[in-house]
Amino acid sequence: MQLFWQDLVNGILVGGIFAVVALGFSLVWGIMNIINLAHGSFVMLGAYTAYVLFSTWNVDPFLSIPVAFVLLFVFGYCVQRFVINFVVRAPILTTFLLTFGLSLLIVNFALLVFHGDVKGITTQYSGSNFSIGSVTIAWVKLWTLLVALVITALMQLWLTRSKTGRAIRAMAMDIDAAQLSGVRVAHLYAVVFGLGAGLAGAAGVLVSLSYSLQPSMGDPFVITAFVVCVLGGLGSVQGALVGGLIFGVLEAFGSQYIGTGLQDAVALVVLLIVLILRPRGLLGKAGA
């Protein structure tokens, strides 16, 4: 029984990271209809930002989150405005290809700059933990979950309350009407993509606290983002959160009770079942 609770807690904790990783991906896909295969590389860049700040100036990784967010936001904005924009209304396959090429570019560039060896961030508080009964919780993982929740809440607030946020949602519903109402679509598209990148960067910092860093570290996170989006529903902040948590818990239980060798397979089979039974996900809008 102790194992059950420990696994549940582990699942929720890791689910928080999944949610933040998927949030940016979900927004870009839901609003702009772009499947950003370079999303994983943005996560990687965020992680390396934290690493550089930590190893050069001893900046605590949690403090690097806003830095990574801003850096990646600017980067994403430029990438969308000056590269992806040329094909943003093309069939989804075209942007799929483009982002694939971008991903190759970014990962290999990082390989040149940072080299292939495995790096990590170990702070004073790494690994410190506390126990509730027989369940052990690592402080870093708990703070990560809390930060993830805060980021998710902030994003939701901004999208619903701010002027830009509302313009973006209008644009997502009907791009021509939005344009006719004076919304600067090109700029807003870039903002959305920049947001997606910025969120990925923040997620990358959180990831760097628990995982090792390598230029190729971002690839598994794209798959995670896919699964979370399907589980929770596209383009919705709550969807990313719910999907992330569910996915985390599913993996934790699946790997423990069906076999650690099959942990990804379990989650993927669940994904398939969800797709067949309720394709729009748990919180997605019908007809999406």
Binding site: F86, P91, N108, L262, L268, P279
Partner: protein, 328 residues
Amino acid sequence: MRPGRALGALGGITGNANALRVTVAILILMVFVPMLHSGYYENLGRGVLMFATLSLGWNLIGGYTGYVSFGNVVFFGLGSYTTAALWQHWHQQSIVLAVICAMVVGVAFALVLGMPILRLRGHYFGIATLGIALATQEIVSNVDWLGAGSGFTVRPVDAYSTYYYAMWIVCAASMLATYLIARSKLGYAFVAIRENEEAAAVLGVDPTRYKVIAWAISAAMAAAAGAVFAGANGFIDPPTAFALDNNVFPIVMVILGGVGTVAGPLVGALILTAINETLWSHFPQIHTLFFGAVIVVVVVFLPRGILWLFNTRGGWKGVAGSLGAYRV
């Protein structure tokens, strides 16, 4: 994918006739590669043929039918494992036997899984196929009868060039099949589904049935390629059989070459391989970097594929003008 206008621009359902003739000529020339007695060029050529076959398979479901699959590598992998299992458990080396069994396995897999997931639309189908490919890879890693995570070695036949000719036959057969299908009722049904699925249903085309057929044929092609590959490679394990490259490159190649045409896949495979090899020989350390840059440049300037370049009015000026077609 709705390249309705591109259909006309590319020259009809089989693609530009001249492009097709030239591509077939190149294919025929490729028969003679083993006579160069160069292991390197044979390897390279066999790779082109293998990718061309995978691309032709993808082209049927993704190009003609408009259902983008992100997981066709699962059939390739199953085909590879068929060859490996035939050798490990029954000591069979026959390539013909392997190809036939692989196609049966691939088609069966596609039929069984196709019924539920081909009811999904657009990108949901794509994600489902991706999920299937990943899940299958992991499940295979846990099946001891298939070698689990360690995989199997396969003893190649002594006349090694046989694998080249086998891959050539598989590729040529796939291309011929695509041509015949495109010009038959099947082909028109596929395109009808791609252009407007509801209208097609109203007109009496049962979408699910035809989608499953398309996917099953693409499965057969991919599985056949995988079966030949396994023997030539001498070794199969889950990461090799279900390699991401074999999943993504065919899509890139078809798009480069021209979606929904007969010649497109082979053209794309030739060009992408040529670019990759050239980059690799000259920039061994950063060739992937350049490769990414090449993809980005090509997609931005030629979003409808290279074959489109030969059909556009105004040649290069037409391309420059088209830069604005898809932007906001």
